[in-house]
Amino acid sequence: MIRAYRALLIAGFQHAAQYRVSLFLYVFFSLLRPIIFLAAWAAVVAARGGSVGSFGVPDFAAYYIGVTIVLHLSTSWNAYEFEFQIRQGRLSPLLLRPLHPIHYAVVENIVWKVFTAGALIPAIVAIALTFSARFPAEPWHYLLFVPSLLLAAALRFVFGWVVSSSAFWITRMSALNTFSERIGFIFAGQIAPLALLPGPLQAIAYALPYAYMLGVPVDILRGATTLEQSLVLMGGQALWLAAAYAVLQVVWRAGLRQYSAVGA
């Protein structure tokens, strides 16, 4: 298994090196969205003359820097590829190989992360300085952030596969992906920090899995949670991960039985 991973990683880096421009654009893309909402909240702060709840501009800056970091480190777009592979029947050769297709996805993700980090870090520093971001985090916040981020990434990955697995039944599942993504857009904490979601939206956000993929680790990173809150939230992450994994096992097996390449 280790040898297989080593070979896949080497091939992956060689592959990624061919797409340097796409890579730069990807970094740019992933920064622009958080900046858009950071700017919008800065305008709200200006209109209210000082702060929104406990948030000033430096807090929003810290929040959206956290969003960028967590999104970047936890992203996987295998869902999109998966639809393509099913629709085109490209899954068939992958199933013949001795490794489960998920391993190829894991390697692909590691490669992208390492490759893009170099471009992301200077950009994040620039944003932090422009908006004088404030991180009131204690050392233990950073310590807890690591497992929280890993849980978030794992949850996002497994959850993405669950949604993608519907491609076994619906060949146009990108619509379902859009659906899931847009619910996440509201409830994961992209539009607003979880603490600022008005009324019932906040309760819904903590009940759905999306916040545990983004808003929760970001709040831990910027030091907005107490120790007890952090542990409870991470418990929520672990619960959702276990649930998503269990569902994936069932769906994947059922789906594989269902699979026949389109046209085959």
């Binding site: 858009i36 700017a39 619509a175 509201i186 600022l196």
Partner: protein, 238 residues
């Protein structure tokens, strides 16, 4: 069936965008001087502009780049019409027409909450929207024309799409570098903000005259640039 699915995704995307605006306005009556109904008009214009470009320009230019790469643009150049016109409108992606319609609906939704518009404001809106579309078109054809030299430039369209996303808010809320980029080299910001300003009663005659002049200049530049680029084209048979 695919059309229905695309339409459903579109409704989902637009309604969550409206939701985002509502969340922001839960904390303030005005954002950068824009009230909620005015902001909804702006969001509607954003989807109209994005919808038009994804309905006709983006699919056409994507095909155009492929023609350049494969050397098959010859067949377009042989036809007795303006080659610029032909590559700009040749391919349509009809599901994105829904975005234009829904964008118009969001504009109407915002308008219903504003006081009645004077005929002058309606005319100014129409003119400014047309100018905005011209600006976006000029930008896209310039970006596409670069294909004559660099051949593989699908990525440039991705730059456009990244910046377009920032059009969902008025361009004046952004930090300096972004605001300036979106009002000059990539005039997506003014293409969306100015028409919305016309409806919101925030556009004076000087502003309107300026965007008309800018759009005309962009049109002429794009035309010149296209012809300039075409000279560098070497096709399969050339």
């Amino acid at each position: 069936m695919n059309f229905a699915i695309d339409l459903l995704s579109l409704v989902m995307v637009i309604s969550t965008s409206v939701g985002a605006v509502l969340i922001l306005f839960a904390y303030t009556p005005a954002l950068g001087g824009w009230t909620l109904p005015q902001m909804l008009v702006l969001l509607g214009v954003f989807y109209i502009v994005q919808g038009v470009s994804e309905f006709v320009f983006i699919p056409s230019f994507e095909r155009f780049m492929e023609h350049v790469r494969l050397g098959t643009l010859d067949f377009v150049l042989l036809k007795p019409v303006s080659s610029q016109f032909l590559v700009s409108v040749r391919h349509l992606k009809s599901s994105n027409l829904g975005q234009v319609v829904l964008g118009a609906a969001v504009v109407g939704f915002g308008l219903a909450r504003l006081e009645a518009l004077s005929p002058a404001a309606v005319a100014a809106f129409a003119v400014a929207l047309l100018c905005g579309l011209v600006l976006v078109y000029a930008l896209l054809i310039v970006l596409s024309t670069v294909a004559f030299w660099l051949v593989r430039v699908e990525n440039l369209l991705a730059v456009y799409q990244a910046f377009l996303d920032a059009g969902r808010f008025p361009v004046d809320i952004y930090p300096g570098w972004l605001r300036i980029t979106m009002s000059s080299v990539l005039p997506i910001g003014i293409a969306i903000t100015v028409p919305a300003q016309a409806v919101a009663g925030r556009l004076d005659s000087v502003g309107l005259a300026t965007i008309v002049a800018v759009a005309a200049a962009a049109w002429l530049f794009a035309r010149w640039f296209w012809r300039f680029g075409l000279r560098s084209y070497t096709g399969a048979s050339a």
